[in-house]
């Protein structure tokens, strides 16, 4: 066995790591704590605990309208991005055509470019095509930006796929279409879910691109943004806390799905433990 024994301790580094973790989490903690503070978002220490701001939040219909709008756009974005992303991933993995590497770069561009570029370019496109800013243009913007996410994730999943499985399926008499449905897609299940959850989250949170494409109906981030202009109250802390909690919940769900799918004794798991004979 070639497992290495105890991990060496590094106290200074551990201290530094703790500091970095604190830096990452402290603002969120402050946010959550002050959502229960009667006297506002600042000052120290928070004195009066109240659930009042949450009550205000739940009665605030325009916030919930914007949540609904965001959900609609996010769901539609997931559907379109996964669909086109899957095709793009398949094309990158299996097809060769002139300009393929340019295509690959273009698909990945919205991931790495600042949102303002994507937002502005699509705004000009909308004007050019005579579209009015609305949830539809927002949807267009999200889908365009997020296809990259789907493509990346699904491409990685395709690479891990054992080509021999598809060959075996064809060898046994299945058509390419059947092979796709019975073999390829089920093997991509994990990647599809991962991509879907990620796209959903990113769409719900999207501001930069949405900023330029929004019409009369606000998405949640833009509704919050508008409120910030009017002055800040712990109600915004409250909705922020809810956003945080639901993000974490999504992440936990994702891990459950992945753990169940991979199984605790899968080869990958064992490999990670470094078990060689």
């Amino acid at each position: 066995m070639t497992r290495s024994s105890t991990v060496r301790r590094a106290p200074l580094l551990a201290l530094y790591a703790t500091f970095v973790f604190a830096f990452i989490y402290l603002p969120i903690v402050v946010l959550v704590v002050y959502s229960f503070n009667r006297d506002g978002v600042g000052g120290f220490p928070p004195r009066h605990f109240t659930l009042g701001w949450y009550t205000v939040l739940f009665a605030d219909s325009s916030i919930w309208n914007s949540v609904l709008n965001s959900l609609i756009v996010a769901a539609a974005s997931v559907a379109l991005s996964l669909g086109l992303g899957l095709l793009a991933a398949l094309a990158l993995d299996r097809a060769g055509f002139p300009g393929k590497s340019l295509f690959r770069r273009l698909v990945l561009l919205p991931l790495i470019l600042p949102g303002i570029i994507t937002g502005l370019s699509l705004l000009m496109f909308a004007v050019f095509s005579g579209l009015h800013p609305s949830l539809a243009t927002v949807f267009l913007g999200h889908a365009t930006a997020l296809i990259s996410v789907a493509t990346t994730e699904l491409f990685a999943g395709l690479q891990k796929l054992d080509r021999a499985q598809e060959e075996a399926s064809l060898d046994l008499g299945a058509t390419p279409w059947q092979t796709f449905w019975r073999i390829t897609l089920p093997n991509l299940k994990l990647s599809l879910i991962a991509a879907g959850l990620l796209i959903f989250t990113l769409s719900m949170d999207e501001i930069a691109v949405t900023f330029f494409l929004i019409g009369r109906d606000n998405t949640l981030p833009l509704e919050i943004w508008a409120r910030l202009r009017r002055g800040i109250t712990p109600e915004i802390n409250a909705i922020s806390t809810l956003i945080f909690v639901s993000s974490v919940a999504l992440l936990v769900i994702w891990y459950h799905l992945r753990a169940r799918s991979l199984g605790a004794r899968s080869p990958e798991f064992l490999e990670q433990l470094g078990e060689t004979s």
Binding site: M1, S4, S5
Partner: protein, 359 residues
């Protein structure tokens, strides 16, 4: 601790001082005793092979000596000083890793120079020593190449040079030839052996291939389940295996199980006289010790039997027969090449051929 088997007797090659001593070394991982009370001496200048199956603990011994693990109990001494108290980078021991572990971002030359650079060796001396090391492994022309551009065999040589350039007192080789194909392996075996003879560095070689061990070593230490089964020279260990396990692991053999009663050994269809005490016995009989009987003359020092040839395996330089002595007793016989055999044959072996082995 007392539950662990005692160490087998080990004769050190005469006139050699012990370079490395493992004294009652044990290693425990989680709840598993990977090494149980190992005591072993390695002589200066010898080529010692740690032989064993996967999981026998041989790699663990290597890692303990290199310093990547600490013994759970026991001590390691080198040239009269405690070795196991030193961190790896202070030990005068170097390792050739199983997958070479060459640094991908450095050229072959820089890989070899690495150990000298970290000790701030002066540049002129460094250049000379690196060149000497590359020449030793016949890789002078590849100094500027990155490992990714080298073949498996070439990488192996660079790994060797990288270790040797530091002039270690002991070189550890962790199955260095297992990743090479058969012909390259044979070639590298020869080169390793002559290299070791030439520079005189003590080699501790780990392998699971017993043929390789026998071809290369001055002595073999056979490990089984974390304990030493036998430590002896290849000829000794082949001719006089101490246990049934050793007899079967090293070379091929027929294990004859039976009993002695009233001065006669009975193992299935085979019977011969013996002056040992009554009781259960196991004998190891090498396939090449059995011959096809040429004539009818009975010799008192021979044991004769008749058996039916069931299978015949052609091996180029010899043939291996599987013969049935009756009652399900099957023996393997190695005979010179001579065309297909069939039916019943007479076989004979000498009385002194079977070696008595422990369980």
């Amino acid at each position: 601790m007392s539950a662990f088997p005692a160490n087998p007797p080990q004769e050190l090659p005469a006139k050699s001082a012990a370079l490395l001593e493992l004294r009652n070394v044990a290693k425990r991982f989680a709840a598993v005793d990977v090494l149980k009370n190992i005591s072993l001496n390695i002589a200066s200048g010898e080529f010692l092979t740690l032989l064993g199956e996967s999981g026998s603990g041989k790699t663990t011994v290597l890692r303990l000596i290199a310093g990547f693990e600490q013994p759970s109990s026991g001590e390691i001494w080198m040239s009269g000083e405690r070795l196991d108290l030193l961190p790896p980078y202070k030990r005068r021991v170097n390792t050739v890793f199983q997958n070479y572990a060459l640094f991908p971002h450095l050229s072959a030359c820089d890989n070899v120079a690495y150990g000298l650079r970290v000790k701030n060796t002066p540049t002129s001396e460094l250049a000379a020593r690196v060149e000497e090391a590359l020449r030793m492994v016949k890789m002078q022309g590849f100094a500027g190449s990155r490992p990714a551009r080298l073949s498996g065999g070439q990488q192996q040589r660079i790994a060797l040079a990288r270790a040797l350039v530091n002039r270690p007192r002991l070189l550890l080789l962790d199955e260095p030839l297992s990743a090479l194909d058969a012909n390259l392996r044979k070639q590298m075996q020869g080169e390793l052996k002559s290299l070791q003879r030439e520079i005189g560095v003590t080699f501790l070689f780990v392998t699971h291939d017993q043929e390789e061990a026998m071809a290369l070593s001055d002595r073999i230490a056979l490990l089984r389940d974390g304990a030493l089964e036998q430590v002896a020279s290849p000829r000794e260990i082949y001719a006089h295996p101490a246990t049934a396990y050793t007899a079967e692991f090293i070379g091929q053999t027929n294990l004859l199980r039976g009993e002695i009663r009233g001065g006669m050994v009975t193992c299935g269809a085979l019977r011969w006289p013996s002056d040992e005490a009554d009781g259960a016995v196991i004998f190891s009989l090498r396939p090449e010790a059995i011959r096809i009987c040429a004539d009818d003359k009975r010799q008192p020092s021979e044991v004769r039997f008749r058996a039916a040839v069931r299978q015949q395996f052609y091996g180029g330089s010899s043939e291996l027969l599987e013969v049935d002595c009756g009652n399900g007793q099957t023996l393997r016989v190695r005979v010179p090449v001579g065309g297909p055999l069939a039916g019943e044959q007479d076989f004979v072996f000498s009385l002194c051929d079977p070696t008595r082995v422990a369980e």
